[in-house]
């Protein structure tokens, strides 16, 4: 049994918005990475991953974020994250310095407006 997680992908102009919900751990992290890479066409400039509805992320999920950022950079594409300021996940995202690989925004509007 893998943990339950879902991605809903939506195109917004030059950006692709992926809303992640559920739980991501070592059982489904690499599957998720493939899903996210597949959803990113060559003509898109930015991938915004919204983790507001995510209940659980572990170190394997954080690895995926670093890895995605690296792969996208090679394709001249950018990764941004959306996470509300009061998210229980916030401290872990900060401790692991995810921000150094993908800027973290408080809202989707802020992530899309830059």
């Amino acid at each position: 049994m893998t943990s339950p997680a879902e991605v809903a992908v939506e195109r917004r102009g030059g950006s692709v918005v992926a809303r992640l919900s559920g739980e991501v751990d070592m059982t489904n992290a690499s599957y998720l990475r493939e899903q996210l890479l597949d959803s990113m066409p060559n003509d898109a400039l930015v991938l915004v991953i919204d983790i507001s509805a995510c209940r659980y992320l572990d170190s394997a999920a954080i690895e995926v974020l670093f890895d995605l950022s690296r792969r996208l950079a090679r394709r001249r594409q950018e990764l941004r994250l959306v996470m509300p300021p009061d998210s229980p996940l916030r401290r872990v995202i900060e401790l692991t310095e995810v921000g150094s690989a993908a800027p973290v925004h408080d809202s989707l509007d802020s992530a899309l407006s830059q």
Binding site: M1, T2, E23, T27, D58, A60, P88, V92, L95
Partner: protein, 779 residues
């Protein structure tokens, strides 16, 4: 102390389950009609076995209530069984057997039949012992089965007697009689009908095939209109007489039958009125030939002048009343009419005459035998040369039909009473006590004078520790539905114990039902819940979805849908899974709660969700609230079963888990941690961070597991004085995780916990982590 507790946990559910099964088995035997004597023997043996006592006695109060007759027993000395023991002291006291047998300890429970003390069931132990509350509850359950069985045995006698009387009467009456069920299918035709029509076809078919082609359309229309409105109907049509091949005029009268307010079908009679019709036709031709004909006809006939004074009654009428023609002539309308019927009969007759309308009335008329017999009397205005000349009337003896109706009603009411008793005796009187879950249930008979259906609920503790919950609804009403319910309930108990997958349990029961002789159809929701993790899976066979009341609001669990049980074989039964968030309740119900003719189902479901509301409050209150709000605004019609369950937060201050060393175990670990942490009062942030660190340590343990000896890892979490201590132990050798960023897991652990210690050892590695809970400290 700890050892004793552990022991109790292991043994009690097994003992309780065995006792529940024993009681269910006895109830089933009672239901299947096991003779009372055999049932008492079986009960005595079962009690001796389950309670581990040497002597058991089943005693019945004698008729004068002064003695106790020993009906059955185990280990009783010679001469006691079949003998009468004196009642000492109060008449309501148990026997003096304890003294006579010299037993050290006894448990004595009364047996009640029809709400009245009728005897005792007693367990006597030679060795001194304490009978626990559970022992007594078990004995009480056995006593209630015996009480219900005794009651049923009595009612069975009465019922089969009155059913037989009805059929016998129906078969000797000259009228043609039939009965249908609620769907309009014929369930009974009497001998007269079979003789006349030469068959047993149903009402619609009769009109369509045996009625005269010119009458068919009209007869069918009348039948369909009336049966749609469940009203009495009458129509005259020509029915083919099988013996002669001729068509004869019959008057068909159908009366709807109701049991406890519930429509259960029609009872009907067809009376041969050929002579009367011939008469009426003859009348149109000539008055004189009418009188000749009228006197040779068996029917009762009369005529009046324009003022309504009787001018003629035929021989048939005089034969019935035993009066003379002189007595009957003139203003004799009230003559022989039952005093209770006279006023209404006369006033309708007067009104009809004023308006020169046709008149018809059923009333009791004094028969020459001295008894009043029901007749239906009908008059139509007659005209001579276009001028109003009075009335011509015919009457038919309908006494058998009228009596039959009353008798039928009695039979159905009695059946209804038995069904209700059965239903009550089959539902668990109190829900089993299952550790770690709160339970509440309700059963409501239909509000319209209690229409007994086949709704039930049940709860069962599985050997794997999960809890199985079921609510179901057998299609149909009355005794058969209640009996079927009892059988299905037991089938679910049996298959629920051996099968772990809900869809498989439902599929097996479908196969069982489909292989049976009787037509059984039922909708069922069967659900298995892990009270530790909140993980659940369920199968909904034609049944509405279960409702989750989570802290963040209510929602229905979709999926797992398939056809009802008994609909087809083979059938595909699906199942769906979900996770109950900590602190949630689950509500299972039958469609009587949400199904109403005047409102769409989704609207009713939305209403249920909104009144059930949040996860707070006790479950009994929840059941009351739901019933009041959903059913309070109207008549539910159908019966309703309701079952609510809530896993209780872990009360323990520690959990200890051993899990398989594979990534899939992480999700299960998180659920168990969530439940434990929720109970400690940790904040959302703390819950996430602690779950994450323990899972990261567990992830390491899983990665280190190589050989078969490394197949599991242990997690222990203890919470004392505001501090949480978690230990993760694996059975491999510790190494740093490999790869560029593999250190991130340990990095997270170190940063989120106050203190982390890694102790590598020969048998494995132990990681111990500590963290103080801020929210709990502050509180």
């Amino acid at each position: 102390m700890l050892g004793r507790r552990a022991n109790r946990h292991r043994e009690e559910p097994a003992v309780l389950a065995s006792r529940q099964a024993t009681v269910a088995e006895l109830a089933l035997r009672a239901l299947e009609g096991m003779p009372l004597g055999e049932l008492r023997d079986a009960a005595a043996t079962a009690v001796a076995c389950e309670l581990g006592v040497e002597q058991v006695a089943v005693l019945e109060l004698t008729h004068d209530r002064r003695g106790l007759l020993a009906r059955a027993g185990v280990g009783l000395p010679d001469g006691v069984l079949g003998g009468v023991l004196p009642v000492e002291g109060e008449r309501t006291d148990p026997s003096s057997l304890q003294k006579d047998l010299g037993s050290a300890s006894s448990c004595q429970v009364s047996i009640d039949t029809r709400g009245r003390l009728s005897g005792w069931i007693e367990a006597h132990s030679r060795a001194a012992r304490d009978f626990t509350a559970d022992d007594e509850a078990f004995l009480r359950a056995v006593a209630s089965v015996l009480g219900a069985a005794a009651e049923r045995a009595r009612q069975d006698d009465v019922m089969s007697d009155s059913e037989a009387r009805f059929r016998e009467l129906a078969d000797t009456t000259p009228a043609l009689m039939w009965m249908t069920d609620a769907e309009g299918d014929i369930t009974f035709v009497n001998e007269g009908w079979r003789r006349f029509t030469g068959g047993t076809s149903d009402v619609g078919v009769t009109f369509a095939t045996s009625a005269h082609p010119d009458d068919r359309e009209e007869a069918l229309r009348i039948w369909e209109e009336a049966s749609a409105r469940r009203e009495e109907f009458r129509c005259e049509y020509r029915l083919r007489h099988a013996g002669s091949g001729d068509y004869r005029w019959v008057l068909e009268v159908g009366v709807p039958r109701f049991a406890g307010g519930e429509f259960v079908g029609y009872v009907g009679t067809a009376t041969d009125i050929h002579e009367r019709r011939a008469m009426e036709e003859a009348l149109r031709e000539s008055e004189a030939s009418f009188r000749d004909l009228a006197d040779t006809a068996p029917a009762m006939m009369w005529t009046t002048d324009e003022d309504g004074l009787v001018t003629f009654v035929n021989e048939g009428w005089l034969r019935f009343t035993g009066t003379t023609l002189e007595e009957e002539l003139g203003a004799s309308w009230q003559l022989g009419v039952h005093p209770e019927d006279a006023d209404a009969t006369l006033s309708t007759w007067d009104r009809a005459r004023e308006e020169r309308r046709s008149w018809e009335r059923e009333y009791r008329l004094l028969h020459h035998s001295g008894e009043y017999r029901w007749i239906v009397d009908r008059g139509v205005p007659r005209y001579e040369g276009g001028r109003y000349a009075g009335y011509v009337g015919t009457a038919i003896d309908i006494h058998e039909r009228k009596t039959m109706e009353a008798r039928l009603l009695e039979v159905y009411q009695r059946e209804h009473k038995i069904a209700e008793t059965l239903q009550r005796s089959l539902l668990p009187e109190r829900l089993p006590q299952i550790e770690g879950v709160e339970l509440a249930a309700r059963y409501l008979p239909g509000a319209r004078g209690a229409a007994i259906g086949g709704d039930w609920y049940d709860v069962l503790e599985r050997p794997d520790g999960r809890v199985a919950l079921v609510v179901g609804d057998v299609v149909g009403h009355g005794l058969r539905a209640a009996a079927t319910m009892g059988q299905l309930r037991n089938a679910f108990r049996a298959y629920g114990l051996v099968e772990s997958s809900p869809s498989e349990v439902v599929a097996r029961i479908n196969r069982l039902v489909m292989s049976g002789v009787e037509d059984v159809m039922a909708t069922v929701l069967y659900l298995v819940l892990d009270r530790e993790t909140g993980e659940l899976s369920f199968s909904a066979a034609g049944h509405p979805p279960p409702l989750v009341l989570a802290p963040d609001g209510p929602r229905f669990l979709e999926g797992g849908r398939s056809v009802p049980i008994g609909a087809s074989d083979p059938a595909v039964f699906r199942e769906a899974s979900a996770v109950l968030p900590p602190g949630s309740s689950l509500l299972l119900y039958t469609d009587g709660l949400v199904e109403r003719r005047d409102e769409p189902l989704d609207k009713r479901l939305a209403k249920l969700a909104s009144v059930a509301g949040g996860a707070e409050g006790d479950l009994d209150g929840l059941c009351e609230r739901v019933i009041d709000a959903v059913l309070g605004d109207g008549d539910p019609g159908d019966d309703v079963a309701l079952l609510a369950v809530r896993p209780l937060p872990a009360v323990a201050d520690r959990i200890s888990l051993t899990l398989p060393a594979e990534p899939a175990s992480l999700a299960s670990l998180r659920r168990r941690l969530a439940r434990f942490l929720h109970a400690t009062g940790a904040s959302d942030l703390e819950q996430y961070e602690i779950t994450l660190t323990i899972s990261e340590a567990a992830g390491n343990a899983i990665e280190h597991a190589y050989g078969p000896g490394d197949a599991t890892y242990d997690v222990e979490v203890a919470f004392t004085r505001g501090e949480l201590v978690a230990t993760v132990r694996d059975h491999g050798t510790w190494r740093e995780r490999r790869g560029e960023h593999r250190g991130r897991g340990l990095n997270i652990i170190e940063k989120l916990m106050d203190d982390v210690r890694v102790t590598p050892g020969e048998e494995g590695t132990e990681v111990t982590m500590r963290r103080r809970l801020a929210a709990v400290e502050a509180a």
